[in-house]
């Protein structure tokens, strides 16, 4: 899909009116994640047509509906080991994302094929390196694809190597996190410059352990404003010591 300042408003209108086919719609959503021009055009188009939505006569709200919504929120709060665990439980995908995404992590985690591939990648990659990391975590995206490998050396340095192209919008940055313990909560290991692999100097942390969670999220440039993960989760995985 070609996009520039002249075509973005046109595509945004057709997207907002629901005139694109599903493949085009998805392409627009992906593009909008990294393209501020398109994002702005979509927002402008929404505002342009919103008054038509406000012409409806409000319907009577059924008594039980709020209760059902609240019950749905409770479900969402329950962390599922491996598949559902994340450092940023509130972070979710774009509003227009399809229904299946919520369950994608679980599917990814259950995919044994992905897991064995991941191990092979990690082992090959860690062979022949000088210092031995204390743990290695292979980070998968929602689709179960390998995105990055984190080696935590336990001396407050960690090396993260990206194994996939991660698109980082201009005003965003990729931040690396780990969860040393529930009490400590998620701790930032640092930011990836321009979305490239790098060696990070982390704050002093307890020695990393087996099954420790590592995660990368998309945050505002300069890092999460709250010191905790706030953005969408790009990839995550549990560490294991090499043997």
């Amino acid at each position: 899909m070609r996009l520039d300042n002249t075509t973005a408003p046109e595509i945004a209108d057709e997207y907002v009116l629901g005139l694109l086919d599903p493949a085009e719609q998805q392409a627009v959503e992906q593009e909008a994640d990294k393209n501020p021009t398109l994002r702005t055009a979509i927002a402008a188009s929404r505002e342009r047509y919103l008054p038509l939505d406000l012409t409806v006569e409000p319907a009577a709200v059924p008594a039980g509906l709020w209760g059902q919504i609240e019950a749905g929120l409770a479900d969402g709060d329950t962390a599922v080991p491996l598949g559902g665990a994340t450092l940023a439980p509130e972070a979710a995908l774009t509003p227009a994302a399809n229904d299946n995404r919520r369950f994608g992590w679980r599917a990814a985690a259950l995919s044994s094929m992905a897991a064995s591939l991941v191990l092979a990648v990690a082992l090959t990659w860690s062979l022949g390196r000088q210092a031995d990391p204390v743990v290695i975590a292979v980070l998968l995206n929602e689709a179960g694809e390998v995105q990055a490998v984190v080696e935590d050396f336990g001396n407050d340095t960690a090396e993260i190597r990206l194994l996939a192209d991660i698109r980082v919008p201009e005003d965003k940055a990729v931040e690396v996190w780990t969860l040393p313990s529930q009490e400590m909560g998620p701790v930032s290991l640092g930011l990836l410059e321009d979305g490239r692999s790098s060696r990070l100097e982390a704050p002093p942390l307890p020695l990393p352990a087996a099954s420790q969670l590592y995660e990368i999220t998309l945050e505002d440039a300069g890092g999460s404003p709250t010191g905790r993960p706030t953005g969408p989760v790009l990839a995550k995985g549990f560490a294991q010591p090499p043997r």
Partner: protein
């Protein structure tokens, strides 16, 4: 036109509170916007049960995505309504609206009523608004095409059928209509 009860700045504040995990803020959004959002989804889906389901899912999505709302990229109301619209359109495109089996003639009658209903959204706009004027400045077919798509969730093919125009012509009419409307409202 019914006016919004909550100013959009308040809605933005409610979304921020949802992002901090305050359920009362989500309830407040539901209380002020829920009825209109159900009606909005029903206008697209033509079924109350599906519309309620869509709004239920949409509120869970609003809750989980609230932190991603960015006020510099549009209004809180536009963001919330887009979530409901997108879900309604997805359900529609999955073909669930067609689940109800009706007699052909009854369906045709309902279809005409539905067209009237959709096209009347334009008349229901505030007469002093830019959108009302700019839609009014379009030829009838362009205006109808845009309204059928946005208000009724019709596809290019469905619009071509209703307006009795070839598909290619319909697409280019709508495209030109959208472009004229952008210019008019700029």
């Amino acid at each position: 036109m019914s006016l919004a009860e909550l100013p959009t700045e308040d809605l933005a504040a409610m979304l921020a509170a949802c992002g901090r995990g305050e359920r009362s803020a989500l309830k407040r959004i539901f209380d002020t916007e829920g009825g209109r959002l159900i009606a909005l989804a029903e206008r697209i889906l033509r079924r109350r049960d599906l519309a309620e389901e869509v709004v239920q899912d949409a509120f869970i999505r609003i809750w989980t995505s609230a932190r991603q709302f960015d006020g510099s990229r549009g209004s809180a109301r536009g963001w919330i309504y887009a979530i409901v619209r997108n879900r309604a359109l997805n359900v529609l495109r999955d073909g669930r609206r067609e689940d109800t089996v009706e007699e052909d003639r009854l369906e045709a009658l309902r279809e005409d009523e539905q067209m009237e209903h959709i096209l009347s959204a334009w008349q229901a706009l505030d007469r002093n608004s830019r959108l009302h004027d700019c839609l009014g400045a379009l030829d009838e077919k362009k205006r109808s095409g845009i309204l059928l798509a946005y208000v009724g969730g019709y596809t290019h093919g469905e619009i071509a059928g209703r307006l009795k125009l070839p598909l290619g012509t319909t697409k280019s009419w709508i495209r030109r209509g959208l472009s004229a409307l952008r210019e008019c409202m700029a």
